[in-house]
C-alpha cells in the first residue's frame, strides 16, 4: 500500500494498461497537456500514434472511438467535462450504445470514455452536470463512478479491459483526494458494490462523489448513537442489486444520496428497486437526497445550497428513524 491521490491512481492505471496492451489508443482534447492530470506523461511515453490531441469536435471524437474500436483498437476517449458529452451524444447514444445490439452481437466496442462529472468547484451550469443518469438510461453503456483512489485504479483497469463501452466518471474536484492504493496489479470487477462502512440501523446508498459526505454523516450520527451502513455501488451499469438489497433487508431503512437532479436521478431507480423488491423489509419510507431540479449555480454559497452534504444526509437518516416513532 502507498498513499496516492485519486488522479495519480488513474494515471497509473492508464500507464500500466497501455504498457500491457499495445492495441490501446487514447485521444481527446488536450490530453497531452492533461487538464486534470489523469493523462499526464502518456504522450511522452507512448508517442503520437497511441496518444493524440484532437481538435475540439466532440461529435467526431466520440464517433471515432466507436469506429476505431469496431476496427480492432481498444480505445480510451477523453470527453473532458461531462457536459461535453452532450455535444458528442449521437455517437454515444445512437452508435456506441446500439451498434452491437442492432447487428445482433457482430460488433464489439471496447471503449473507455473518460469524463469529469458533477459540481462543487464553482464551474457553473455548463461544467457541473452529473451526467450518470443520462448515460445509465441508454442501456448499452456501462457506467463507473469511483469514490476512492484504490477503487479508481482497479475500476479503471477493469473498464479498459472490458469489451463493452464504459463511461468512467471522475467526480469533479476530487482528483486530489488521497487514499491507500495497493502496489500490485489488481482489478475491481464492474458490477460489485462495496459496503464502505457497516452498520445496523439505516442503509445509506451513496453514489460517486456522495460517498465522502455520506461517510462524514455516518461519523456525525455515530456520535448520536445511530449506526449507519454506507453502500457505494461503484458501478451503476451493471448494478450490484444484491448488495444494495441485502443491506436494505438487514437495516429496514434506506436513504439514497445522489448528486443528480431529483427528477429521474439514479437515486430514484435505486429507491424503486428497493420498493419493488424489498418492500416487506422496509420499516420506513425511502428517502432520496438529491439536487433540486435547477442548473448548478456559480457562487459558492449558492452551489453549497443545492449540492447534498453530510448534514442534509444526516437529516434524512434521522427522518427515516423518526418514522412511526412519535405521533
Amino acid at each position: 500500500m502507498a498513499r496516492k491521490r485519486l488522479i495519480q491512481a488513474m494515471n497509473e492505471a492508464l500507464f500500466e494498461e497501455m504498457e500491457r496492451d499495445p492495441a490501446i489508443i487514447l485521444f481527446g482534447e488536450d490530453v497531452k497537456a492533461s487538464l486534470f492530470g489523469d493523462t499526464k506523461g502518456l504522450w511522452k511515453r507512448f508517442g503520437p500514434d497511441r496518444v493524440r490531441d484532437t481538435p475540439i469536435c466532440e461529435a467526431l471524437i466520440s464517433g471515432m472511438a466507436v469506429g476505431a474500436a469496431a476496427a480492432g483498437r481498444r480505445v480510451i476517449c477523453h470527453m473532458m467535462f461531462g457536459n461535453f458529452v452532450y455535444t458528442g451524444m449521437d455517437a454515444i447514444a445512437n452508435q456506441a450504445a446500439k451498434l452491437r445490439y442492432m447487428t445482433n452481437g457482430q460488433i464489439k466496442l471496447p471503449i473507455t470514455f473518460l469524463a469529469v462529472s458533477g459540481g462543487g468547484r464553482s464551474a457553473a451550469a455548463q461544467h457541473s452536470d452529473a451526467i450518470h443518469p443520462v448515460l445509465a438510461n441508454l442501456g448499452g453503456i456501462k457506467v463507473v463512478m469511483p469514490s476512492s483512489p484504490a477503487d479508481a485504479k482497479g475500476l479503471l483497469k477493469a473498464a479498459i479491459r472490458d469489451d463493452d463501452p464504459v463511461f468512467f466518471l471522475q467526480a469533479a474536484g476530487r482528483g486530489g483526494e488521497p487514499g491507500e492504493v495497493p502496489e500490485e496489479d489488481y482489478v475491481i470487477p464492474l458490477g460489485e458494490a462495496a459496503v464502505v462502512r457497516p452498520g445496523r440501523e439505516v442503509t445509506v446508498v451513496a453514489i460517486g462523489s456522495m460517498v465522502r459526505p455520506a461517510l462524514r454523516c455516518a461519523d456525525i450520527l455515530a456520535r448520536e448513537g445511530i449506526e449507519v451502513e454506507v453502500v457505494d455501488p461503484r458501478t451503476l451499469v451493471p448494478l450490484d442489486r444484491e448488495t444494495i438489497l441485502g443491506s436494505v433487508r438487514k437495516t429496514g431503512r434506506l436513504v439514497v444520496v445522489d448528486e443528480a437532479r431529483d427528477t429521474c436521478s439514479f437515486a430514484s431507480h435505486i429507491a424503486a428497486l428497493a420498493a419493488e423488491q424489498a418492500f416487506d423489509a422496509l420499516r420506513a419510507p425511502i428517502r432520496r437526497v438529491t439536487v433540486p431540479d435547477c442548473a448548478i449555480p456559480f457562487a459558492p454559497v449558492l452551489e453549497r445550497a443545492v449540492l447534498p452534504d453530510a448534514e442534509r444526509i444526516a437529516q434524512a437518516v434521522r427522518d427515516t428513524l423518526a418514522f412511526g416513532r412519535s405521533a
Binding site: 467526431l60 469496431a70 445512437n94 452491437r100 445482433n104
Partner: protein
C-alpha cells in the same frame, strides 16, 4: 461513358453489371413485397444509385471498412453481403444478417467490413473516420469508405471529419451520393454551394462524378482508394445521381404536397445506370446481348432463391428480445 474503362478486363466489367443488376432486382422484389404489405417498418430503396456502391466497392476487399446508411441495401450487396440473409433481415427473420434486430435501415455484415448501416443521417461519418484511424495504425494499407447522402453533407460532423482526416492524413474516402433530395426537400433548397467544394478549405481533393456512370465512379474511386492506401489522405467524391423511387416506400400514402415533377423523374430514368452500362458494353462489343440475358437470368434465379430462403426462415424468438447489448453483461 468513359472509354478508359475498357482498361478493365471483360470479366470485371461484367461483374460490375451483374452486381448492379442484382441490387436492382432484389430491390424490385422488396418494392413488391412492400406494396403487398409484407415488410415491417420503413424501406428506403437505392434504385437508380447502384453504380455508386458498385463502382466504389469494386476497389475494396473484405478487410476494408465501409459505413452505410438507411438506404444501404446497395452498399451491403456491393461489399459482398449475402442476399438471402439481407432479405431475411428485412423480413424480420431470425436468419437475417442481424437476427432481426436491425431491419432494412441497418443491414450490416461485419465480417465483410461493414461497420453498421446508420439510421442517423450522417451517423457513419465519424465511425468511418475512426475506422480509418485504426486502419492507419494497422499500417497494412486498409482504407475506410463512408457512404452518405447530400442531406448528411449538411451535418456539421462532415467538417469535423474533413479537418481531422486531412490533419492526420487518414485513409478515408468520403462518398457523397447526391441524389437530389434530402428526404422531401430538393437538395438546392437546403444546401448552399456545391458539396464537392466543401473539401477544398481543408486541402482535401474533391471530385465530382456522374454517379449514373459506373465506369466514371470506378475511376474516381480508383484514384481515391489508391491515394488513401498509399498514405495520401482523404478524398471527397460527390457522385451526382437521382433517386427515382420515393424517399421511402409508401410515401404516396402520407405525402400531401408533391415535391417533384414527374417529367424530372422520367428524364432521370432515361439515364438509368444499368441499361446505360448495358448499351455501352454492347456498343463496345464487350458483351453480346445473349451474355447480358444470361446474367439477367442468373440474377433472377439468385433473387428467387434468396426470397425462398428468407420467406421460409422462422421469426426470432421473442424470449430473446433483450439481445446482445453487451459482450459481458456483468
Amino acid at each position: 461513358m468513359s472509354v478508359t474503362g475498357t482498361n478493365l478486363p471483360r470479366h470485371e466489367l461484367l461483374a460490375l453489371y451483374e452486381r448492379m443488376l442484382l441490387i436492382r432486382r432484389a430491390e424490385e422484389q422488396l418494392a413488391q413485397d412492400c406494396a403487398a404489405g409484407k415488410l415491417p417498418g420503413p424501406v428506403h430503396l437505392y434504385v437508380g444509385q447502384e453504380a455508386i456502391a458498385v463502382g466504389v466497392c469494386a476497389h475494396l476487399e473484405d478487410r476494408d471498412w465501409i459505413t452505410s446508411t438507411h438506404r444501404g441495401h446497395g452498399h451491403f450487396l456491393a461489399k459482398g453481403g449475402d442476399l438471402g440473409r439481407m432479405l431475411a433481415e428485412i423480413y424480420g427473420r431470425a436468419a437475417g444478417i442481424c437476427g432481426g434486430f436491425g431491419g432494412s435501415m441497418h443491414v450490416a455484415d461485419f465480417s465483410k467490413g461493414i461497420i453498421g448501416a446508420n439510421g442517423v443521417v450522417g451517423g457513419g461519418i465519424a465511425l468511418a473516420t475512426g475506422a480509418a484511424l485504426a486502419a492507419q495504425l494497422d499500417g497494412d494499407g486498409k482504407v475506410a469508405v463512408c457512404f452518405f447522402g447530400d442531406g448528411a453533407a449538411n451535418q456539421g460532423v462532415l467538417a469535423e471529419a474533413l479537418n481531422v482526416g486531412a490533419l492526420w492524413k487518414l485513409p478515408l474516402v468520403l462518398v457523397c451520393e447526391n441524389n437530389g433530395f434530402s428526404e422531401f426537400s430538393p437538395t438546392a433548397t437546403v444546401t448552399s454551394g456545391r458539396i464537392v467544394e466543401r473539401a477544398r478549405p481543408f486541402g482535401v481533393p474533391g471530385v465530382e462524378v456522374d454517379g449514373n456512370d459506373v465506369l466514371a465512379v470506378w475511376q474516381a474511386a480508383n484514384v481515391a482508394v489508391r491515394r488513401a492506401r498509399e498514405g495520401g489522405g482523404p478524398t471527397l467524391i460527390e457522385a451526382r445521381t437521382y433517386r427515382t423511387r420515393g424517399h421511402v416506400e409508401y410515401e404516396t400514402t402520407f405525402i400531401t404536397e408533391p415535391y417533384r415533377e414527374e417529367a424530372e423523374v422520367q428524364a432521370w430514368r432515361a439515364r438509368d445506370p444499368i441499361p446505360r452500362f448495358a448499351s455501352w458494353l454492347l456498343n463496345h462489343e464487350l458483351a453480346s446481348s445473349q451474355e447480358l440475358e444470361a446474367i439477367a437470368q442468373a440474377v433472377a434465379q439468385q433473387v428467387a432463391e434468396a426470397v425462398r430462403f428468407a420467406e421460409s426462415a422462422p421469426e426470432p424468438d421473442p424470449a430473446l428480445a433483450r439481445g446482445s447489448m453487451f459482450v459481458n453483461p456483468r
